[in-house]
Amino acid sequence: MKRSHLLLAVIGIAALALFPVGFHNPYYIHLVETIMIYAIVLFGLDIVVGYTGQVSLGHAGLFGVGAYTVGVLVFKLGASIWLTVPAAILITAGFGALLALPALRVSGPYLAMVTLAFGTIIQILINEMSFLTEGPLGIKLEKPELFGHKLDDREFYWVVLVLMVLALIVVHRILRSHLGRAFEALRGSPVASDCMGVSVYRYKVYAFVISAGFAGLAGNLYAYSEQYISPNTYNFELTVLFLLAVIMGGRKSRIGSLVGATIIVLLPKLLDDIEMFRYVSVALAVLVAVSAVVGIRRGKSTAQQMAIPVVGTLLLAGLSFKLQSMTDWRLSIFGVITLFVVYYLQDGIVGFVRNALNLKQTSVADQQAAIGVVKGDAVGTAAGANAAPELLKASGVLMQFGGLKALNNVDLVIKRGSIHGLIGPNGSGKSTMMNVLTGIYQPTAGSVAFAGQSVVGRTSSDIALSGIARTFQNVQLFGEMTALQNVQVGLHHTFASNLLDVALRTPRYKRESAHAASRALGLLQFVGLSDLAFEEARNLPYGKQRLLEIARALALDPQLLLLDEPAAGLTAPDIKELIAIIRKIREHGVTLILIEHHMDVVMNLCDTVSVLDFGQKIAEGKPAQVQADEKVIEAYLGGTVAE
């Protein structure tokens, strides 16, 4: 973190800590307290929404579980805060797991609906299980005691503040660690994550469970803060409000969460005060109109684009003078704001400000210096050099999609340390073979053994960790992450640190993290991308993206590397460079399978070449042999034409 950021954070926290000293009005103290509590929920929700890119409509339910854990423990057992805080976190995390294990097998709208169903079930259960929860009556409780002293409003405020800051630090550390990178990676490309040994399912569940833990902590504090809990608080509207706060504040940003929490807490208060609302809506209309004019003048947006927000805010301003009370229309206002944010403020307020002020992260040189000098050879030497000469043996592989046999009884033997070419016309089954080898497809019949172990039936991430890395025909990078981070995801397997290590920054985590960063930089250097290390992967030119995929695959320390058309879209000098890189990879003892249409690359590099056509192997042998094979010529050119 930059020093100026740290300074700002310290000033902010100090201001929050001193707030109750300056303002004695309990109403305002409670308001800020609520903002901080919501912020804790949002830190967690941002992990799911911002980083893994899933929509959760169940967080109000989880928040409720946290609150009711406290309520029940205090009401039935008179438990102290020392028990309720960990209990709320653990029990809510448990509920999160209960939801996540079945639900996270699906994504997108399905997941949204499932989490919504979960939230609804929680609300029904709280209402109905009155023997435990007192049902619709709710539970009253008092502020907790700490060291035998019953906290008053102000002291509890400080407790909330301390826990909020702790939550902030922990979330920040998690998201900066290999765990955070895994979360972001599975959003960028689930397939690639799996093939980098980062199990998509497992990390989605982790993200959800961690997120639930924070919701539980917040629910706990909320119960003490309100001193009364009832089932109807934790409803659908609250869940939508949380989501709105995350996107309005700004995804992938802790400041965004704080801003979002402030807005959703203050907005209803604002709407209660119709006078105030009129001023604000007029100011908003003026602001939008002015920025629209500026935008159009500068050619950044067209009149058509800006028409809807301008007319919308003007209407809102007009409406505020017409209506006597806004309270009843609160939800409609939230709905309109949601629509606005979804379409016009996708990066949230924080993202908008960042764009407007053109804030750029630290310079490349500084960041490289921060990572430190690369020591030794970044590319790992492949394990098992002295083991059996057959690294991979596939026999009788059949892959059937409906009536189509994409692979029909294919045998393939790959010798350790060789470069094995796999060629054939489009649609001949080369990429299908890759997908079978890496566990993306389960073959209909046949066996695949890698280093003596069967890979059939194992998950992609498991296979990847056992030593098969790959690149993709359609580049599958983690677009929003930097080149360096992409490679670091590949290095995920080098981490033994767990959540606790990350949260506490133990020496073990620090050591592993520093090592991974410098090795990632070394791998980028190996493929010649170290200057672009801090560029987002989606901004790299196509050819560089392909090289980045190779660097990322090498990070897995593979014994076998599958390259799916690495030269596609590369210029002639780039191809030369690629050939040199592939040679260097082989020198490290890594075995390669190369799918390629550039025949000169194949002929230049490969020790053995197998040719597929219509899912069947039609030829195999030395490159020159295969090139002269009549069947191969026929498959490529149709009919017997001499070359």
């Binding site: 169903a117 109905e128 709905g335 309109v336 997908n435």
Partner: protein
């Protein structure tokens, strides 16, 4: 719902109650099927769903109630409500879904249809009030005796009406050139566009159809339940459960799924507690998604890398 007859053996009475529960379950299930059918319609053209489908149903019912209150005949009211529903669906598509499709944002359409649903609900609360209202039944409310159980004439109307509605839309989709456009749009939106199909219009139309069926379901179910601004939310969610159970692409599946859920619900409501009646559907949703994400009748798509 429970009516025990004094002069019958307990076993026979139990059987009767069960039959009755099954009948009301079927009626309820058909409503779920109709709403789920609406999900399928939009999913087929655009891979999107209206998360405010339940609110479309609620609006249909409330508009119907107002029309009946103004003295419009129930049967005459139905087509008017259908037109209203279609209009409402088109609005949802234009405001909520189209911009999201344009920027290819899944998060976008999920959030915006939820937001529109919330707005509709809030507007309904302000226009029709927060209390549940009674919808006058167009058919006699005295039950008919059928297989030894009591069946409300309205329940028969619900089943018949729902089936008829789905059949009509299905025939229209299959026989008309529009239907072919829908299939083409579903298979490949870009290719369909290049073939001169106005895919935007097809999607708008599918939303209009979808909300129309929901509004229709609203006026069908309203005389059996109470009508109010909050009636839609849970219905929409449970209909999604049905759509998932049946598969988002299977027409037969949703009818079966709807009946399973409807019966599960009426029996739970009777034997356990009415408070729990929403639970089986939601749990079923969780289980089906965990075991077979494509639904019981749907086909699993092959992922392409």
């Amino acid at each position: 719902m429970s009516c025990v007859f004094p002069f019958q053996s307990p076993a026979k009475a139990t059987m009767q109650i069960l039959t009755q529960l099954v009948f009301s379950g079927i009626a309820l299930g058909m409503i779920y099927a109709v709403i789920a059918f609406g999900y399928q319609l939009t999913f087929q053209t655009s891979d999107t769903l209206n998360f405010g489908q339940g609110d479309a149903l609620m609006l249909g019912a409330l508009v119907g109630l107002t029309l009946v209150g103004l003295g419009v005949n129930y049967w005459l009211m139905i087509p008017i409500v259908c037109v209203f529903g279609a209009f409402q669906g088109a609005v949802v598509e234009r405001i909520g879904v189209r911009p999201a499709i344009k920027i290819k944002s899944e998060f976008g359409w999920i959030m915006s249809t939820i937001a529109l649903g919330i707005i509709f609900k809030n507007v309904a609360e302000n226009v029709w009030g927060r209390d549940d209202l009674k919808f006058p039944s167009p058919l006699p409310e005295s039950p008919l005796h059928f297989l030894g159980a009591n069946v409300l004439p309205m329940e028969i109307l619900v089943v018949g009406g729902a089936l008829l509605m789905m059949l009509a839309v299905e025939v229209f989709n299959r026989k008309s050139i529009y239907g072919k456009a829908v299939v083409a749009t579903f298979n490949d939106r870009d290719a369909a566009k290049l073939m001169g199909i106005n895919t935007g219009l097809v999607i708008t139309f599918s939303y209009a159809l979808s909300s129309m069926t929901a509004a229709f379901a609203g006026v069908l179910i309203a005389p059996l339940t109470l009508t109010g601004a909050t009636m839609g939310a849970v219905l929409g969610l449970k209909a999604f459960a049905v759509a998932i159970i049946g598969g988002l692409t299977s027409g037969m599946g949703i009818v079966v799924g709807g009946i399973i859920l409807g019966v599960a619900e009426t029996t739970t409501g009777f034997y356990l507690s009415t408070g729990y009646k929403d639970v089986p559907g939601l749990v079923l949703l969780l289980i089906v998604l965990a075991v077979r994400p494509a639904g019981l009748f749907g086909k699993t798509a092959i992922k392409k890398v």
